[in-house]
Symmetry: C2
Subunit: 401 residues, 2 copies
Amino acid sequence: MKWTLAHRASMMNPSVLREILKVTDRPGIISFAGGLPSPLTFPIDAFAEATARVLRDDGKAALQYAASEGFGPLREQVTALLPWKVDPAQVLITTGSQQGLDLAAKVLIDAGSRVLVENPTYLGALQAFAPMEPDVVGVDSDGCGVMVDDLRRKALGADGQVNARFLYVLPNFQNPTGRTMDEARRAALIDFAAGRLPLIEDNPYGDLWFDEPPAAPLCARYPEGVLYLGSFSKILAPGLRLGFLVAPPALYPKLLQAKQAADLHTPGLNQRIASEVLKNDFLLGHIPTIRALYRRQRDVMLEALTREMAGLDVHWTTPVGGMFIWATLPEGMDGAQLLLKAVDAGVAFVPGAPFFADGSAKNTMRLSFVTASEADIRTGIAALAMVLRTALRSQPERTAA
Amino acid sequence: MKWTLAHRASMMNPSVLREILKVTDRPGIISFAGGLPSPLTFPIDAFAEATARVLRDDGKAALQYAASEGFGPLREQVTALLPWKVDPAQVLITTGSQQGLDLAAKVLIDAGSRVLVENPTYLGALQAFAPMEPDVVGVDSDGCGVMVDDLRRKALGADGQVNARFLYVLPNFQNPTGRTMDEARRAALIDFAAGRLPLIEDNPYGDLWFDEPPAAPLCARYPEGVLYLGSFSKILAPGLRLGFLVAPPALYPKLLQAKQAADLHTPGLNQRIASEVLKNDFLLGHIPTIRALYRRQRDVMLEALTREMAGLDVHWTTPVGGMFIWATLPEGMDGAQLLLKAVDAGVAFVPGAPFFADGSAKNTMRLSFVTASEADIRTGIAALAMVLRTALRSQPERTAA
């Protein structure tokens, strides 16, 4: 029996990341590889109380089919969490913010459409876009975010008109680099994009700042040209699969129709649990506890890196929020090869190449500082430095690679 | 600011059904229009107990990111519910069975691919397929299911080879007709399809039989050529958004990759709640209560139709399970126009035309017998007959329409 697959199926591939995580998912290993929030931050008791209340007071509605737009009170609560004025009618509750990427891909990408992403960028976005067969082009980024000069080169055709469908950008504590786009860069980006280049702004980590909130979202500056994606995965818990999008009126109806076709609606029970938990300014007390934990863990990892990597020609970012540090290995080293040795030594990370649209920059790696304990961070970074030292010693010809 | 939409976005349209349901969603109206299960059947207490247990014993895992394939114990429980031998490795938990349709569309449909459906068929399937821009062809059906002679005409090209990607079929208590494919028709369909035509078998209602279980699923007869879709929406509750698919090994990996890209995974909390509720043969006691309720309500509606529609040249199906009766009005009547008058008279149904791939058969309607009370069914059918009688009297020329 032969199934004839759609052409787009050839664009779909197993998540490199998930394949890597299988390698690293051994008992006893110290893993900096996951993109998972710390389960210590999950407000389990609040969920238990909220669920009991929802099922007792509103069980039939919570368990019935519901509106594709999402649960009304939760859509209003979303607008209250956002730092600019949003009409609840522009909010669509999604089954995780990953679904926002899937819906955007369906509505905005034709086969061959040029789609711009930061270089490097979130792997799940590349996966969500791939089935719609775009021509993905990476735009260079530095410590302040996506570089507008390179964006201009890649977004404009020979006629000076925009020839890309959108730029996908993660301005706050980016996955994978942990970098944040600064105010000047945001202003320059909007200056370039306004009126001609749509943006998809993905902001799952924005609330996880350590010292001060990041600059205002791109959507607050350019609401008619930005599709904004948000998530409850990092401030409540990912297992609910609750995200949302804020879309301009020009886009909302088509995203809604795509949502209806995709899964009818996001589970009503989950939406009501979140809505109940969010009452009484719950997040005002809860999010600071996440920030404090992650900040402490970041500090421990930065200290360990400084101590252990001395003299090894390794460089890393100093994230001011979020979950990730991005490290650059000596030129010519391959993060994927190093990972195999690291796993043997009991420590894991994610090699950086898969985060690049073109698979370049093999000498990079992503380190999550949020799930390992402080002691394990110290032990793990020391082990990683040892592996790296051995690899450097055994590869004197590496600079020629 | 102009957003350039993908071509497929023009294929997406607001759900006709949802637009209709807005009209019918007035206080005090007796509605036979919804496709909703009766909330009386939702095991709310069991959900409350299960959720408390899951969050207490396994909260961190339930709230963390999880495997795209689904929660292992639930995948095994699914195989135990199915009346043929299924390897849990072939089960993928989906965010409602609607997502199974979305994933299938992505993996199997190219623009212009011929896709066969029953005439009429489930509207949500047409919506899920539409964004991938298939050429949807309806295959005639009668009281025993899809007609194999017509299928042969529509599935084979001039060269005698299959030129369709698949046939989508709902063999049990079909939505919208309530019809069930009998044993002989199933055998004939498999005889035709085996080795050359893939099938998507959608079975959300299969457990809701009244007198005896339906004939064996198509997938049990032709596992390598059938993608099977199942749902917990009608036997537990739709608000969890829990469905599943059983896919042959040739198809499973691509569906899994599409699932990862679509929403990473179905909410782990919901999967664990269902898994917990399913323990100790819960459904063995629970499903018979749903069957008894729906059967009683079907009887009340059939009696009311017989009594009220006498002499009006209206015909209807006698479903042996599920949620729907399908009625055929006198030739030339338009169900959509009748609906407007019916709503004024305080009763609602769904006109049949949207369920046909070509919008034909306007003189049909779908009546759900599961959500209105017995008294309301009697009152509503009487009101509907009155509206119909008036319409017939005022349109003596209708047979010429």
